[in-house]
Symmetry: C2
Subunit: 481 residues, 2 copies
């Protein structure tokens, strides 16, 4: 099938699918979750083989994938996500009568999705982007990630099985293989209405630029990762150096450091820097090098480390073991805040289990750091509550720099729920006003439409007087059900 | 003050203002509405003089301006607009406990606003863009429209009076004069976080491109107008040719045709084309030429008409009276759908009281038109309800092309309410997922942030357990208050 045929079929399927009741869309999504479970025994070994990730992790990731499919199914079945808003007519208003105006969200149209290498299931073929687009009512043209082609094909088959079982057009999902040129052609097709991407800064930014240069620019929801700094405060740290060192190292090395929310930057007060460093060193010794997702990623990891090794400002607490074809070896460098502040290159993400430990001396430095910091998916603060009472200005600054602010725990492990925000100011994403994980991710693929004085019979169910869907709606400015 | 000083002061004011309770922001907005009323006698004559619009219209527009200020004041006082969403901790969940995650909208930061020439009050200095940004919690750097400099200064003074009365920093609003270069510099400043614009396609698109080329791209909410087609169906038309001709001409010529929602395109079935044309002609004779906003706009209007006059496909029902320095004269051209479909130049907006009447012969042509149509702010359908029962596919197509679909009345007269959607697919705007009129306009200037395991005392009021603001919140996926 050529590209035009793919998009024309997708557009045709869209005009049918967008008007299906939420219940039917939910049925399809639930069927898809069941189908993926049915094929678990085939999917898991393929994904393990193609990603080098352990079976336990991949099994868990499949659970996460079906879990988020069921969350979106629940949402579209319930139906309130469309923000139905009704301002009834006021025929007797003076000086002018008010028309009847009703607003709701409507799906955008065909969406191009690029899968992530580091989540062969949960952020790939039937991952969060694909599913939130389908849930919103949009067909998906999916560009398979070349790092896990067979896993991708298998999951695509499951999607087609589920579509078939539910009597839905197969053009609602198209699996496209290829390289950069194929991906670019998808983004440039006139019938594409939005793009979702999870991956590198270079990749996401290139797609963003391409989409903005189209005759009709379209939104690009690119999640491009970040260094997810942890800010340590003295009291908190002094109470539990070994525990926090352990937590940090676990998060840093989880999945060989290949997470968007991997903590690659940690700010430590000078007075405890040495002790904390020693505790981290001890923990790092326990971590064996493990295979990364693919050779290209391992190569890029060692290249970045090598580049940093040339910088005199860095003192290496743990050097990466000799470069290996595929295994990623942990590395940790220390730098003074004074030096770190001088060059924003020190904020660049190194994808893998590398972190920079920045030693700060004063409150002034902390605030300078916060001002200087690039946009992040997450920022974590390790402090006793009492230590934060005088830090309101700093907290205020840090809020400006991230999508999620943590006060305990570690940034890795992104909960899929209603309140999750996985996104953040540029350069962590190209779309800080949206999230790519959690319930609100569905809103990326819809836009508002208002109907004025439309006859009841022609109105979508969500906007009819009797509220046949029983959803939450804002009527005359008040929420009601 | 130089640009850096302006933005640094705005950013400083932002970090203070964003954390003020909604009640205090509302107080400021209400004070501003009062202040504008107080200065009505000074503002109105200035705006009349600088816009050539009649006093009645300007008086009404000031009422619309204060009305929308009070709507946003009411919204931020009530507070539910922040989409507070709470997923409480589940410490006993297996296999992993769930952290406490709470999400809400937070303001973006300093916003650059460009005023519109055609609404010297309601879409200018203290217009919808400025007010929705201030309501969201963002300072505004306002680029005054050169067509009404004195009006703009006077309104800016009112904003500063209101800020002073409420003890708020004056840097929350800065009035900047200048031309294109000054406007571009504002958009390019690193501390600017969003841009709002109402005006021409060329202007809006240029700012959009500029903002995307920044080191940190920022969103541009540009409302660039459209031709707002009306689709006439035979039965509806045959029942009331004179009434519909009158309604059409009134909407077309309102404000000398200088509205974003001005109906510049009307599709008419062949069987009634002649009668409808005659009725429109009769109505047009009643309309005297009237002064346009300024000479540049009159010049552009006549240039566009002259350009179209060279096209053989057009038959002129009413030619524009000889070109006049400032008066806009109505004009109407007729074209066969077959010809109209061949060149998308015929969809280009002519800003002023010009319309193209497109005569269609068949259902097939109507669907081709709908597919071919560019993105619009509005589409109006004049049909008997029974005529639409067989037009579901056409309606479906038309929904894809607009932000507001009308089934009665005319597109001009944009209600400021909760359900209004004033926006639409490109090229009518650069941001179809937002509205520039109505309550939801506030969401353009905010982004979500999630707090994980944050101590209660440090959480924003909107997210604290006791719900001290008494707002609507989604808790564990259910709306409650």
């Amino acid at each position: 099938m050529n590209l035009d045929q793919i998009f024309i079929s997708a557009q045709e399927a869209f005009l049918f699918y967008k008007n299906l009741p939420g219940k039917e869309k939910a049925e399809f999504l639930d069927t898809l979750a069941d189908t993926l479970e049915e094929y678990r025994a085939e999917i898991v070994p393929l994904a393990v083989q193609e990603s080098n990730l352990p079976e336990g992790r991949i099994n868990g990731e499949l659970g996460r994938t079906t879990g988020q499919i069921r969350l979106f199914a629940k949402m579209v079945k319930e139906g309130s996500w469309v923000e139905a808003t009704i301002d009834p007519a006021m025929p007797d208003r003076t000086p002018l009568p008010r028309a009847d105006i009703r607003r709701m969200l409507t799906p955008l149209g065909p969406v191009v999705v690029f899968g992530a290498s580091n989540f062969p299931l949960a952020f790939s073929t039937a991952g969060g982007d694909t599913i939130s687009a389908l849930a919103a009512g949009c067909p998906v043209i999916y560009k398979a990630h070349p790092a896990h082609p067979e896993t991708s094909k298998k999951v695509a088959d499951c999607i087609h099985v589920a579509l078939l079982k539910c009597g839905l057009p197969s053009a609602l999902f198209t699996h496209v293989e290829g390289g950069i040129a194929e991906g670019q052609a998808l983004v440039q097709h006139p019938l594409a209405k939005a793009v979702a991407f999870t991956g590198s800064h270079a990749g996401g930014k290139a797609l963003f630029d391409l989409a903005n240069k189209r005759e009709e620019p379209i939104p690009v929801f690119a999640e491009m990762g970040s260094v997810n700094p942890i800010f340590c405060f003295p009291k908190k740290l002094s109470h539990n150096i070994p525990g926090l060192a352990k937590a940090f190292v676990s998060s840093l090395t989880l999945g060989v450091g290949q997470f968007c929310t991997n903590p690659g930057l940690i700010f430590v007060p000078e007075e405890q820097a040495k002790d904390f460093e020693n505790a981290i060193s001890a923990e790092l010794k326990e971590i064996a090098a493990a295979p990364m997702l693919h050779q290209g990623i391992a190569q890029a990891y060692y290249d970045s480390i090598q580049f940093l090794e040339a910088r005199e400002e860095l003192r290496w607490v743990k050097v990466a073991d000799p470069k290996h074809l595929i295994n990623g070896s942990t590395a940790l460098a220390e730098i003074k805040a004074h030096d770190w502040l001088k060059d924003s290159l020190f904020q660049k993400e190194v994808f893998g289990a590398f972190a920079m430990m920045v030693v700060y001396q004063s409150q002034t430095e902390l605030e300078e750091i916060a001002e200087h910091l690039h946009g992040q998916l997450t920022i974590t603060i390790w402090a006793e509550e009492e230590e934060l009472k005088n830090q309101l200005f700093l907290l205020n600054l840090l809020e400006e720099k991230c999508g999620r602010l943590l006060f305990k725990g570690v940034p890795t492990g992104v909960e899929v729920g209603y309140a999750m925000q996985h996104g953040g100011p540029f350069p962590s994403t190209t779309a800080p006003q949206s999230t790519s994980v959690g319930a609100y991710a569905i809103k990326r693929f819809a836009r508002p439409i208002a109907f004025q004085d439309m006859p009841q019979d022609l109105l979508p169910d969500a906007l009819q007087d009797e509220n046949p869907l029983g959803i939450w709606r804002m009527v005359n400015g008040n929420w009601e059900k």
